[in-house]
Amino acid sequence: MNQMSSLCRLQAAMAAALLALFSFGVLEATAETVPTRIVSVGGSVTEIVYALGQEHRLVARDTTSNYPVEARSLPDVGYVRRLSPEGLLSVAPDMILAEEGAGPPETFEVLANSGLPIVTVPMGYDLPAVQSKIRAVSEALGVADAGEELALQVTADVEEAIRAAGLRDQSVLFVLSMQGGRIMAAGGDTAAQGVLELAGAKNAISGFDGYKLVSDEAVLTAAPDVILMMQSHRRGAVSPGDVLAHPAIAATPAGRNQAVLQMDGMLLLGFSVRTGQAVSELAAGLAAADS
């Protein structure tokens, strides 16, 4: 709880500092020229740029930006929290559009000194967060009207999906990974819990924030009805079979009913323009597991 809130505070402070540092540059840039060489940092940010039809203005992306598939052909400037200043400058950008938490701060400090506008997009795991992400991106791109339209459409999608999903009496265990038989599960304040709540289900695990290793006994006590995990195309990745074979999971209602759902990670946890689709698919999967 503590370290999570402190992290949030740190991020908030960082974002505030960045905003204070760069707001001048941003204003200047939007007033004079429209940025046409943008680096998009963060998978959900990139998705929004594509949804706004502004992808022709992108010159690079980070490692986490892998949807839509076309984004993968852009040069990759590295992992979102480990960006290198020279790497970013080498693609000659005129704006950096970065999700909150991108860094390290040293890199952004150098870039700010070069006069490069850096726009920080707020993160969050609910519908208002999706809306503010879309607004932040569209304003930075100078297409606020299109952004408003997209935000309305996404809101309608998500609300429709929530309505269709209704409230389900299912508890779901989100398994992020299973290394050496140890289960890394989603606690509170995670994208996984956020999307589960939108789909009307509840997170089987409570008592901690973030993703953590949980003991077998905690899994048994949580007694999830469904196991949710991300799809992975890597060879040797954990399969639903592996998860069901786990002794603690096998003894839960989910294990007895073989109820494992797999979804694309970026779709499920991105909290971006496809969240409505994510909620519908998740709800449909949960309904199928229920019957």
């Binding site: 402190s6 000194n113 992020l176």
Partner: protein, 355 residues
């Protein structure tokens, strides 16, 4: 008096002074080349030559070129030079002090301590006092405090009645490292996904965060430690014959020990604080030099500093261009390039390895 020890050593293993001096000259040349490359090579298209020509003709550089050359590549180069020299010299010092070919800063708790400090900063972050005031300097400061704290504690444990037992230090170092790593483990356990990533990347090291703010603090500390280290050559040569022998030769063994440990803790502590965990340089560089030009510390310490600087700057150049515009952690490069090279040298010269 200490020169006697050096004479004994030279008699035993042959006088390779001339060879060592030649190595120094070669390394200085190499250092110059590598430094120029460090300024000239990078992901950005900024050209060192055209910028220099423009500057010589009194033209103004573009803001972007200025940033790339003066605020990205130059501080990175200097950080690489200093950190490389510090790590390699620390390795040479400790291998001499412990008379153990496997000694490196890890053995006196520097690495585990620095890692603990860094992980504290990453995981507990803003919850700790001073975090807000220090801002981006928070992690380096905590890493240095961890390194320094662990070493001081170890020194206190191993020192009784004004005498430091090297054997106690070695063993207590293992125990202390285990303890520190367990504490780090507790923090890793409560860390979230993003923090875990930060920790992993920190442990692999990077010079990408180098800037003038860090250099202003780090450079004087490393520089003074490196200069002080050069004075330890004669003492360490005497210690190579055994502590008792060194004492009989009139070497103040305790002073040598204390100064060695202070130099290593300061130089490595600061290097690790600003560049993360970069392994391997401290072990490999001194050994390569011993194989080439013998174990005489008078030359070994200078040459280690030079070769260490060359190696780390070269590794950093690789780190920034191999997958540009993204960047590899430098620890990966030092291990991937250094490991096989070191094995090759060992296989070629089996039996020659001495201290």
């Amino acid at each position: 008096m200490a020169a006697t020890a050096t004479d004994v050593m030279r008699r035993q293993v042959g006088d390779r002074t001339l060879k060592a001096r030649r190595v120094t000259v070669v390394l200085l040349t190499l250092l110059l080349l590598v430094s120029v490359a460090g300024l000239a090579v990078g992901a950005a298209e900024t050209s060192l030559w055209s910028s220099l020509v423009a500057w010589a003709q009194g033209e103004d550089l573009s803001l972007r070129d200025q940033i790339v050359l003066l605020h990205i590549r130059l501080p990175r180069l200097l950080t690489g030079l200093l950190a490389g020299a510090a790590l390699a010299t620390s390795g040479a010092l400790l291998q001499g002090l412990f008379r153990n070919p496997l000694a490196d800063p890890e053995i006196i708790g520097v690495s585990a301590g620095a890692s603990f400090g860094a992980v504290c900063a990453i995981v507990l972050g803003a919850a700790l006092p001073f975090a807000g005031k220090l801002g981006a300097a928070f992690l380096p400061v905590l890493a240095f405090a961890g390194a320094w704290g662990a070493t001081l504690l170890l020194y206190r444990i191993a020192t009784r009645h004004g005498r430091t037992s090297v054997a106690t230090m070695l063993l207590a170092g293992i125990a202390l490292s285990a303890l520190t790593m367990a504490l780090t483990g507790v923090l890793i356990y409560i860390a979230d996904d993003a923090q875990m990533r930060d920790i992993t990347f920190w442990n692999m090291g990077s010079l990408s965060g180098a800037n003038w703010n860090k250099l202003v603090i780090a450079a004087p500390v490393i520089f003074v430690s490196l200069v002080a280290a050069q004075a330890l050559g004669a003492g360490l040569n005497a210690m190579a014959l055994g502590e008792a022998a060194a004492r009989h030769m009139g070497v103040s063994v305790q002073v040598v020990k204390r100064l060695t440990i202070v130099c290593v803790a300061a130089a490595t502590g600061v290097s690790v604080a600003i560049s993360g965990g970069i392994g391997f340089v401290g072990i490999v560089v001194p050994h390569v030099l011993r194989l080439i030009s013998g174990p005489d510390h008078k030359h070994l310490l200078v040459n280690s500093a030079l070769l260490g600087a060359c190696v780390l700057v070269s590794a950093d150049i690789d780190a920034r261009v191999i997958i540009a515009p993204a960047e590899l952690p430098i620890g990966i490069i030092t291990a991937i390039l250094g490991g096989p090279f070191f094995l090759w040298i060992l296989l070629r010269q089996r039996g020659v390895l001495d201290l």
